[in-house]
């Protein structure tokens, strides 16, 4: 399969600097890779590893300045790309090398129909125009699995779902049957089941056209399911390269080993168990028949419709327990969290916390309740005031709930909390932007702990973090649970994350609970069809699927 003797693209010694205010920052340092016809090369790396920069250079998408290609060569089909004129480079882009991106909503032009945007590819490369290009576009949309392409060709990007938008992007990229398709985190913004469909589509297209695929990802599971060969990047450098199976089964570099150890292994028994050891019999939170309906505005041709975001769900959380709520976007899992914190009012139902219904509390009781239940959000940066120092962020709950701590003890307690979450006391004087994503999430956890809660609701709390950081934050949460006898409601779209952390899991779909059970039972023998499909949607290593 691999065509190492005659690669279609050969990048050697690529070094790219970005000019910032003070001094140039080396984004990519002496990076070499190659890819042959029909081969899939995965470039694996966490954010800031330079994985996107190296392929953007191939596409001539780096602006110079601020970018500066210091050294290296990109040999495409025997031609040195940097020797070509701008016009010659343009004629390669979209025709012989095409690219798809992470967030198709942002990467499609919002004011043009998808048909027009695909047609442009044909027109700008002289491969058809007018009716002919339109017919080809419709055919292409059909090929990538857009239903009713004759009509949908005239739709705008916002009228498609996330998965369909990525299909449109794929259609645009493969319009002229390129030799190479570069896919930059193509499924990161998508739900697992949709991700599986897009990855299947890419594999099928590759088989049909024999194109080379360069896939950039931070997701180890996606990487293992797609890669023939893999290069691992860290800090702008290639730290490991090789046949995918070998890299995954026998990683050489310390960084790769650390990354791969964060991957939940296929065999559950191998994993370190981070589940709770001390669950009390006492029920902390009991939710009964919780329901949230939204009345949608009536359109010109339809009457009022009701959207059931959360539809009659009941569950309980015991002291010291971690309940995982798993669901894809639109499943209602975040609506549950918002109602439990009193941020949204439910349509009906009740939630009893320590003997009292949350939804019937008066202002004063609600204040006291909010001390006991805290939330950690997905985007720690967005949930912190950028102009406040860490000290003020963490100590703010004490300014609201006066009785927790007298002011002269604040400083010592902030230092204590920072140490508890694995940061340093001197970090108190810094601002949120001076920390990495993982550190910011630690600050958010420290802030949640400040009011001495009994229950912490984590809404996709690790989803925005790199894999290796995810594992660290989960470890921290597990450790805090034991030390402070906390309970968690851990909301996520990612089943593997909760596998070794949650004691019980509740799977939600379309506002309802489709399955609930002890984690090991649920993973071992999922009863509901949807849970099964979710588990199957988790990408499997390519070498295993080939063996079957």
């Amino acid at each position: 399969m691999s065509n190492a003797t005659n690669p279609i693209l050969k990048v050697e010694g690529l070094t790219v600097d970005f000019l910032s205010d003070d001094e140039p920052v080396r984004a990519v340092d002496d990076v070499s890779f190659h890819v042959g016809h029909g081969e899939t090369l995965v470039i694996l790396g966490e954010s800031g590893s330079g994985k996107s920069v190296s392929t953007s250079t191939v596409m001539d998408l780096i602006d110079c300045p601020p970018g500066d290609i210091v050294a290296g060569s990109c040999l495409f089909d025997g031609v040195e790309l940097s020797d070509l004129s701008a016009q010659a480079r343009r004629s390669i882009n979209g025709r012989r090398i095409a690219m798809i991106f992470q967030d198709p909503l942002a990467y499609l032009n919002p004011v043009y129909t998808v048909g027009r945007q695909i047609k442009e590819v044909y027109e700008s490369h002289g491969a058809g125009s007018g009716k002919d290009a339109r017919a080809k576009t419709i055919e292409l949309l059909r090929r990538v699995g857009i239903p009713e392409p004759e009509n949908r060709v005239d739709f705008y990007p916002h009228q498609f779902s996330g998965g369909q938008r990525q299909r449109v992007m794929v259609a645009m990229a493969i319009a002229l049957k390129p030799d190479i398709l570069i896919a930059d985190e193509p499924t990161t913004a998508l739900d697992v089941s949709v991700q599986a469909q897009i990855l299947d589509l890419l594999r099928d297209l590759q088989r049909e056209t024999g194109m080379a695929l360069i896939m950039i990802t931070h997701d180890l599971e996606v990487a293992s399911s797609m890669a023939d060969r893999i290069i691992v990047m860290n800090g702008g450098k290639v730290v490991e390269t090789g046949i995918a199976k070998e890299v995954f089964s026998n990683p050489q570099h310390a960084y790769t080993r650390r990354l791969i150890s964060a991957l939940p292994p296929g065999n559950a028994a191998e994993a370190p168990n981070k589940r709770s050891t001390a669950i009390a019999s006492e029920t902390l939170l009991k939710v009964e028949h919780l329901t949230k309906h939204y009345v949608l505005a009536s359109g010109a041709f339809s009457g009022k419709r009701t959207f059931k975001a959360v539809d009659d769900i009941s569950f309980e959380v015991r002291r010291g327990e971690t309940l995982g709520i798993v669901g894809e976007s639109g499943s209602g899992k975040s609506s549950v969290a918002r109602m439990l914190l009193g941020l949204n009012a439910p349509s009906s139902g009740k939630a009893v916390f320590a003997g009292e219904n949350i939804f019937e509390m008066n202002e004063k009781r609600l204040m006291a309740f909010r001390r006991k239940v805290q939330m950690v959000f997905q985007d720690p940066y967005g949930s912190m005031n950028p102009r406040m120092r860490v000290y003020s962020i963490i100590s703010e709950p004490w300014a609201i709930h006066r009785d927790i701590l007298s002011k002269n003890r604040w400083k010592a307690r902030v230092a204590e909390l920072l140490e508890l979450v694995g940061l340093l006391p001197e970090h108190a004087d810094r601002y949120p932007h001076q920390f990495s994503g993982g550190q910011r999430q630690r600050i958010a956890i420290a802030r949640a702990l400040a009011s001495e809660p009994e229950l912490i609701v984590c809404d996709e709390a690790v989803s925005a973090l790199d894999v290796s950081i995810q594992a660290q934050v989960i470890d921290l949460l597990a450790d805090l649970r034991t030390r402070l006898s906390l309970s968690y409601i851990f909301i996520t779209h990612d089943l593997p994350i909760v596998r070794h952390f949650a004691d019980r899991i509740m799977v939600m779909k379309d506002g309802r609970i489709v399955e609930e059970g002890q984690t090991s039972a649920l993973f071992g023998a999922p009863r509901h069809e949807y849970t099964q499909s979710l588990l199957q949607a988790v990408p499997k290593p390519k070498w295993l699927t080939h063996a079957q």
Binding site: L61, I92, N93, G94, Y107, L108, S124, H125, Y156, H158
Partner: protein, 304 residues
Amino acid sequence: MITYLGRRASHSILSVIGLLTLVFFLTRLTGDPSALYLPLDSTAEARAAFARLNGLDQPIHWQFLEYLRNLLHLDFGESLRQNRSAMQVALEAFPETLKLAAVAITLSTALAILVGSLAAARPGSMFDRVASLISLAGASAPDFWVAIVGILVFAVGLGLLPTSGTGSWAHWIMPSFVLMLRPFGLLVQVVRGTMLSALASPYIKTARAKGLPRHKIIFGHALRNSLLPVVTVAGDLATSLVNGAVVVESIFGWPGIGKLMIDSIIQRDFAVVQSTILVTATAIFILNIAIDLLYAVLDPRIRY
């Protein structure tokens, strides 16, 4: 869509009625017209007769009710100065303003889009810096000063252009140029800013990855997305021009509605003042609806 238009129309009718009420009472605070229209030595009887003839002897609230009743019959009153229908006077002046405004706003917008786009395509270049300087000067130069200097240089000094009035195409040059300055200056800044952010957006990367030529990326993809804020500002500027460029029309003796308005206020020609307000308010209402509809045309995500 229809409901949207209906709602906008009913809101606008209410605000126009409010505006007319305000104008009716405010103009009457400027004083008694008979003091201006009759000779200084005219008798008390003559003054009373003048007042009776024009309904000025009635109590003011009575005059107002009378005005409203006449409005319902589309009777907008008589001009004291010209002894004919006040509305006719206003409607004769309005096209002159409209023509000048249309020329000024169209030319300045078109020019600003071109200059702003090219400046944004190469930020920091010589062209960008010169464009920024000129637009800043244009946006901040007082129009009465530019108008007077223009007359001094081109009409009085060089004798190339007429000082004022209408007639030939040469009469258009100075008024439209002066009116264009501010819109041009502001719009260049707006276009440049929105184009810069549009050019940095992800879909431009897609366009480049598709291999589109540069001019299609700038004018096809980026500009199309930058037009919304441009329409907002240009619409706002157009509104102020339709309202009558009082200063410019007065300096260049342009027989537009701005000049008519200021003349009628000075002359206490109440019916004409009210009619000009009604005409411009209606025009602004139509203009605003047109701008809203233009939004929906430009951005498929906007639906009414």
